[in-house]
Structures are given as C-alpha cells and as structure tokens.
Symmetry: C2
Subunit: 340 residues, 2 copies
C-alpha cells in the first residue's frame, strides 16, 4: 500500500467543472492512500486569513474557471477501475489548513429575497475545542453580485463588523464536492450534484465516512474540493462554512458491489442521496433509492423494506441551493441485529 501526496497547485486543480476528458494528475493503485489538499474557492472573502502562498498561486494562475465556482483537486485515476465498478473512498482525515472559515449569504441563497443583499461572515476555528466562533462580517459590495468564481476582496478592516457574539458551533469538516467523472463527454458544471457525486453538500461526508460512487470512465477520475468545516442540513444561505482542508483518503475499487447513485456509509448509518429540480422530486428519488438499497443490499422484501422506512428511517434535506436540490434517506445500522 502506497501513500501519495497530492498538493493543490495550478497544475493539479480544475476550477468549476468535472470532465471525463481531463488527464489524471495522479494515478494510484487499488487500495492506496492519498494525502490531498482541497482548497476553498471562497478564500478571497478574507485573503489575509484564508489564503497562503499555495492558495494564492492557484487564484493567480488558474484563469480557466467555470461554469461552477468550485476548485477541485484531481482527477485521480485508480488503476483497474472500469465502468460498472464502484469506487470506495474512505475519508480517514480532514484537517483545516488555516484556522478560519467563511460563509457567504449569496444571491442564490434560499432567503435572499428577505435580505436583498449578499453578506460574508468570517469565523475563527478553535481546532482544539472543535468549535467555530464568528469573528466579523461585511456586506458584499466588491461586485454587484458575487458571481465571479474566486473574487478576491481586499481586506477592509473598517468594513468588518462584529458578528454572532456568544455563539460557538461544532466543527463538521467535510468535502462539499467530491465525485468521479460523469459518463458524459465535455465539461459538467460543478454546481448541481448528480449520480457521479459532485456537489452533494452533505456534512456527513467527513472523517470516518466512506463514499461509494458508480464508476463511469476507466480509472474513475476522482476529484475533491469545496471543503467545508461546518454546514447545516439545507445550506440555506447558499454556502457552508468554507475553509481549505487537508484530507487523507483511501481509494479502493469494488467489483463486489454495484450502485447507480452515491452511497454514504458511516460506522452507524447507510445514507442514499436523491436529487431533483424541487424537493418533492428529490424526496421521491431518495425514497425509491432507499427502498432499492434495503432490498438489493440488505436482502429485505420490498414490503418489509417499505414498512421499515416509515417507522425507522429518516429523510433529511441535504441542500436547497445547488440548482438540483438534495434529500438524503438514512437507515441506522443498529436496526439489523448481526448485520455488518
């Protein structure tokens, strides 16, 4: 088993899209570990705090951006992965790179019409305590709308206002966007999540979790970005608490399991994801997928699975801000006496 280092540089990131035609920046063997840097595309919200030299280089030199905003590190090819296989990505670590994070209340946020403005709130991370506390906030006026990926807002100490006194929130470090290359040619925006994964924005995709993605192209082509140090279910303001993360991943090719959608497994739960143009569609897809998961992978009859889903499985709003909305359905592993 090898351990690879994938540093985020202008040569190892792509900005705003997935693309099956991208050449791998790293090729690893089945079962290898990868230390990977994931860089937040919102580092420009407070460049004095959220950027270092490595991040600045990416913002300076990568001018081919869009249509999405996310900086993605990769793609990583895994030897032997073929369409129809499942890529298993175990997240062993996700450590903040700098002790700061930023939340943008964006024009695509769920309650934007109540505010009519965009606003940045910057939080200081207390890594020892596992908490974040707001440091300051300012209204966005660097551009008419925060719609240019990677805008750098020069620090203006006068504009920085106190925010959220007496509040401390638990860190939930995770990768907002992680996925394999979609099975369609050309660039696919990094904004909407899909069955290749991508911008799922489920805060449970963090240390201790394992993701399963359906492989669509030889090598799988995994990319990782949009790092978050916390987020609520819903991500209502349009973004999470965004901050660069250094991850440690283990990549395995699974030919013994087959999924057509991204599956999240933690020590306590299995979670399926549904996406839709509205929450009702996302809910229905998540419900159908959980039913199929219980039948195909846990061996329940469909009648039994449906009853269990109603009395013991939970459906939650993943996000309402990523063009395709997300609902996830969760079944606790402890329901299954003796189950793996």
């Amino acid at each position: 088993m090898n351990v690879h280092d994938l540093v985020a540089t202008p040569d190892t990131v792509h900005w705003g899209y997935f693309d099956p035609d991208l050449s791998p920046v790293l090729t690893v063997a089945d079962g290898d570990l990868v230390r990977i840097e994931a860089v937040t595309h919102q580092a420009g919200d407070a460049p004095d705090l959220l950027m270092d030299l490595g991040i600045s280089r990416i913002f300076d030199e990568v001018t081919d951006r869009g249509p999405g905003p996310h900086i993605l590190t990769g793609p990583i090819a895994v030897e032997g992965a073929e369409p129809g296989d499942t890529l298993e990505v175990s997240i062993l670590e996700a450590q903040p790179r700098v002790p700061w994070g930023t939340n943008l209340a964006a024009h695509w946020g769920h309650l934007y019409r109540c505010f009519g403005k965009e606003r940045v709130t910057v939080y200081r991370l207390d890594l020892a305590a596992g908490l974040a506390r707001a440091a300051f906030a300012y209204d966005w006026d660097a551009t008419p709308l925060a719609d240019a990926p990677g805008t750098i807002v020069p620090p203006d100490l006068a504009a920085r206002q106190p925010a959220l006194p007496d509040v401390a929130l638990p860190l939930r470090p995770h990768f907002g966007t992680m996925g394999v290359a979609p099975g369609v040619p050309g660039r696919v925006s990094s904004i909407p999540p899909g069955d290749w994964g991508g911008n799922i924005d489920n805060w449970r995709i963090g240390p201790g979790a394992t993701m399963y993605y359906p492989v669509a192209v030889p090598g799988a082509s995994l990319s990782v970005g949009d790092p978050h140090v916390s987020q609520g279910d819903g991500e209502v303001s349009g973004t999470a608490l965004e901050s660069s993360l250094n991850g440690l991943l283990r990549l395995r090719v699974r030919r013994d399991m087959s999924f057509r959608f991204p599956l999240l497994v933690t020590p306590t739960e299995w979670t399926v994801h549904g996406f839709g143009d509205d929450l009702d569609e996302a809910m229905t897809i998540a419900a159908e997928r959980l039913l199929n998961f219980l039948v195909d992978h846990l061996g329940l009859s469909s009648d039994d699975a449906y009853s269990l889903m109603s009395v013991a499985c939970d459906f939650t709003i993943t996000q309402v801000v990523d063009a395709r909305l997300g609902v996830h359905g969760t079944v606790s592993r402890r329901l299954f006496v003796g189950a793996a």
Copy 2:
C-alpha cells in the same frame, strides 16, 4: 398543583376533527398535570392484540367520525388561557398501553404507486429493551381501500405472514396529533397539520419535550391523539408505528412568550415547524420561521441568524403524507454559550 385523570371513553374523545365549539371534557388550572389516555385509531388492524375493553367501547360507540381518521382525547380547557397566549404542554411520560403496534402502508403513502396495494405490519414491543420487532404482516383486503376510520379487521391467523426477521428498531413514543382548537369555526379535519399543531407527526414530540401552541380560543382546548411508538422522519408509508399511549402532561399558560406556530423544545434543541402544499413551500416557511425565532426569541440580528442557519441549523422532512407536508428546522441549544 392538581393531577387529573382523563380516561379515553366514548364521552371524552372526538374522532377525526378539531372543533373550537366542542365543549371541554376536562377543565384544569394553569400548571396542572393531566394523566391522559391517547388511543390509536388503527387498533382494528389487529384487534386481538391492539384493543382492550376501553378501546373496544370507543370503536363500538363513537359512530360520528371524520373527516380525518384520528381519535382525539379532549378537549382540555386551561383556566385563564386567552387568544394571543401560548399554551405550554410538557410531555412528562408516554407509556404504551399494550405491547403491540401497527404500521399501515396506505394508499396515501409516498410510494403507493410502486406497490399498488395496502399492507399492515404488526410489531411486538419490547418495553424493557426499548425496541420493537415485527411479528407479522398481511395485505389489506378488508375493504377496497383503507379509507373508513376505525375499520376492524377480524384476526385471520392464516393471512398473517412473517415479516422483517432480524430487525429491531428503537422505540420513539410520541403523540402524532396534539394541538389546540383552531381559530376558525366548525370542524377542521385532523389530517393536515397547521399552526394550531394537530397532525404534526414529528417523532420528537415525546417524553422530555415541551410543545408551545398559539392559543386561538378561550381555554385553548387541547386535544391529544394519534399515538405512535416510533416513526421515521418522512413517515413515508403513510402511517407510523401506531399504538395507544398513556401520557402525563403538564399544561401551563405562557403570557411571556408569543408564537404564531407550533414550537418544539427539548433539553438540547429548539425546533420550528413549517407546512405547505409541497416540500418546497414547507421548507421556505420553516426557514422563515427559524429566522424569526432566532431574531425574536434569541436576540440575534437577522444577518447573524441567516449565517448561523446555514452553517449550523438543520432542516428535516417531518412527513410527506398528511395532505399538508411538513419540514422542521432545528437549532441546537449548545450553540448558545450560557443561553437557557
């Protein structure tokens, strides 16, 4: 402080509706305790297991039913409660009356089109372990559709099939339907939840939780029913794990707080409820209500509240089967250092 006993009888229940014109069956003083029986309207799914003499009398004698299916105990008047006040209902206990529960996969369930039939699954409760295990299941054929409130299905041991082997689920006892009289004249169906509470179907409305309802009529007129011993977020099959409960409630009139919607408070969380014709409407209303709660009751600026909602508050699907769909938004009390 007095302790009242409210036994469920044909004279103390109303079946299928809220109605501000109903005469109270019990009047209590502000701060009193009430031991209350809540009877499941689905006891007829396995009358040999889910019914006793007291429950049978209600099914035999209460023929005025509808438009909803729920048996509601009450209403209880609280002295001094006036429109504009808030009724605080603390749930101190909720104990199963019989060690059995039933789940109906109903024609109003979320995935009915995938099944094209209705099906009952009966679970045995292990109260000592706090678990439920399926005992048997049968396809519904007592009537073309399970749409007559209180249908009694004669036990047919031959039709009872094994179900859900090797599965045990945790009990989550709660009152699916609890609320005050709506502020509109006449009968209001017990099916859709609303700002008076009613059929919220949030499994967290159980022991240790406190509900706050906006009082619309003098005395508040609280009714309690639709008891559940477990449910998942979503309640996808159309019903929960339904079983009669004996509750112990403390009722208080709060003039120091004002809510226009039902609020759930637990030792760890505050939760607001939104309802809508679809999940997107319910989500938006829940988000607006959580914003208002954080501003009006916790003293945050709206800017600060919106950021906090995105990075640390969770939105969950309450149910998708009650005509008006539900989304709840939750904020953890531990975010507030030193907050009550």
